[in-house]
């Protein structure tokens, strides 16, 4: 697959703070790639370097196979949707969407038609004459999206596009963005700190931490096989213990079972005696917290998410066996050393 954009050894240093630390990254053509990580991981800086708003301190960025490291944003032909939407308040919705076309000297009649088409695509055909201030947050975001798409960009860049929307609208817009991406065939790069969003929307996800890429791949590959403890933690593997060989085992709470002591356990799986320290009933399921000792002799706290109906009552203080089948245990290298920044 062709790369729509490619980073080679790209760093961004502000004073003595390394925001992005020598990353190599390929953005696949026609796919939706998410940059995922906690705040301060360098994902937004990476996007801004791709858009041309920040020049890398070192390294090289190719867009469409052409070295664009020092190309100013206006010469890149990329569509960017800002977190604040950044709609021009003194222009109407149609003028906002037509701004880039006007700069490209698209004749008025064609421009109007393309503006209308793009607004229809995002479902706002009826609001062309409104001023942005009159629109709701969700509508403003669609205008920002339409404005970025209208110029037929090489890549569509989205900086935390859904974070300012309410929960219900956010879930709806995930599907909308996917639909727009598949209808336009655009290469999309989306920055987010929300792992659900990344898992649901990505063709390719890039997990970042402290300016470095921790893991990249399709959600279906990354989710069951986190490369290290950071990725596992970020993706919701809440239980970590040290195995006999010194490697780290991660188990998701829903894969950890709580059984009476002495019951049958799967061969090769996990079976540890533990003491229940907390029980939280949540209707369909319940969260059972237990304390146990792992192979390294360290005290560990594990959380099991079990279906309420499948379990006889468990109370605080009970001694139980926590088990997990071998297929649900994810082994990974021990703790990633904290990068020096």
């Amino acid at each position: 697959m062709n790369a729509a954009a490619e980073f080679a050894g790209v760093s961004q240093v502000f004073g003595d703070f390394t925001a992005v630390d020598s990353i190599d990254l390929r953005i696949a053509q026609g796919k939706l790639t998410t940059l995922l990580g906690p705040s301060g991981c360098g994902k937004t800086t990476t996007l801004r370097m791709l858009a041309g708003y920040a020049a890398p301190t070192s390294g090289r960025i190719d867009i469409d196979g052409v070295d664009s490291t020092r190309t100013p944003p206006e010469k890149r032909n990329l569509g960017m949707v800002f977190q604040s939407y950044a709609l021009f308040p003194h222009l109407t919705v149609a003028e906002n969407v037509g701004y880039g076309l006007k700069l490209r000297r698209v004749p008025a009649a064609e421009r109007q038609q393309r503006v209308q088409e793009t607004l229809e695509l995002v479902g706002l055909g009826h609001l062309a004459a409104s001023k942005p201030k009159k629109l709701s947050g969700g509508q403003q975001q669609r205008v920002a999206l339409a404005r970025a798409i209208a110029i037929r960009p090489k890549l569509l860049l989205l900086d935390e596009p859904l974070s300012n929307l309410d929960a219900r609208l956010r879930v709806h817009m995930r599907a909308e963005l996917r639909r727009i991406q598949s209808e336009t065939g655009l290469t999309v790069v989306l920055v987010t700190h929300d792992q659900d969003e990344a898992l649901e929307m990505s063709d390719d996800m890039v997990l970042m931490r402290a300016g470095r890429i921790m893991q990249q791949g399709a959600p279906q590959d990354v989710f069951p096989n986190p490369a290290n403890r950071f990725v596992a933690d970020f993706l919701g593997y809440e239980n970590f213990l040290t195995a006999a060989d010194g490697s780290v085992l991660a188990v998701r709470p829903e894969h950890l079972d709580v059984l009476p002591v002495g019951g049958p356990t799967a061969a090769g799986g996990l079976a540890l005696d533990a003491t229940v320290t907390d029980v939280a009933y949540r209707g369909v399921d319940m969260l059972v917290t237990v304390r146990t000792v792992d192979a390294s002799g360290a005290d560990v706290r594990l959380i099991s998410d079990v279906r309420s109906d499948g379990l006889s009552t468990v109370s605080i203080g009970d001694v139980v066996t926590v088990t997990a089948p071998p297929s649900r245990l994810v082994a990974m290298a021990a703790e990633v050393p904290e990068p020096v920044r």
Binding site: A51, P73, E74, M80, Q83, A86, F88
Partner: protein, 265 residues
């Protein structure tokens, strides 16, 4: 306002009375039929308006004042707007010091500035008094140009210009199509404040006057010291009328809330 906050409302009304009543006395006096500056006026006549408008020193001083205020305003905006942009958006060190420098004319006593300009420019460099006055007034206005346009710039999202760049606009194009239109109310109010500051200025204009170039307030002050007839009240009323017309136009075109809203935020 009065229903919810009786004390604040009463104070506001009192404030208006204190500010407006003396002005009403001047306006009333200007329509007098008598020969002295006295209240209540004796009879009604427009004779003093006629006198003011045909009194050459007033008219030439009015032209001088308008010229000075207009050119100084344009100069102050031409220097102040780029300075504001540099302070707020530029990557320059010592922004606080630079902004402080631009605001300092508000603090330094005008007599000191006037005397310094008189000594250095008029005596030292032999500059004509119009040029010196122009320089002095421009400096006096810079705080307004920098502060007021700065306030409206601070309200504008920096991502707007980036968005314009991303859509294909050169930095210059982005400035003229996006930033400048957003700054327009701020520039308008800075201009208005600057113009009025220059037009009403006495200390600087008093120190830097000459026989050939004298501003209207200085000329009026001079006149009051020599004679006590109502012509000066008539001139003051005319200036007041002019100011009201400007205010109405400003309110109709941009709106006061928008013009002065940026200052306090």
């Amino acid at each position: 306002m009065r229903t919810s906050r009786p004390v604040a409302g009463s104070l506001a009304v009192l404030g208006y009375i204190i500010m407006i009543v003396p002005i009403l006395f001047v306006v009333a006096t200007s329509f007098t039929g008598g020969r002295t500056l006295r209240f209540p006026p004796e009879g009604f006549s427009l004779q003093w308006f006629e006198a003011a408008l045909t009194y050459d020193p007033f008219i030439s001083a009015l032209v001088s004042s308008l010229q000075l205020a207009l050119i100084a305003t344009v100069l102050a905006l031409a220097i102040g707007i780029p300075a504001t942009l540099a302070i707020h958006r530029g990557a320059i060190p010592g922004k606080g010091v630079i902004e402080g420098l631009f605001l300092s004319p508000l603090i330094v006593p005008e007599l000191v500035v006037g005397l310094a300009l008189y000594q250095q420019l008029m005596i030292g460099f032999g500059l004509a008094n119009f040029e010196t006055l122009l320089l002095g007034h421009t400096v006096l206005m810079l705080p307004y140009a920098v502060r007021v346009t700065g306030a409206s710039l601070a309200l504008a999202d920096p991502a707007l210009e980036e968005a314009a760049r991303g859509l294909g606009a050169s930095p210059l194009r982005a400035f003229f199509t996006i930033t400048l239109p957003l700054l327009r109310p701020g520039i308008f109010s800075a201009g208005l404040l600057s113009f009025l500051t220059s037009f009403n200025n006495v200390p600087l204009s008093l120190l830097l006057q000459s026989r050939d170039f004298r501003t209207l307030p200085v000329t009026m002050l001079d006149y009051v010291q020599q004679s006590y007839d109502p012509m000066v009240a008539a001139m003051a009323t005319l200036i007041l009328a002019g100011t009201v017309v400007i205010a109405v136009i400003a309110e109709r075109t941009v709106g006061f809330a928008k013009i002065f809203g940026g200052i306090n935020r």
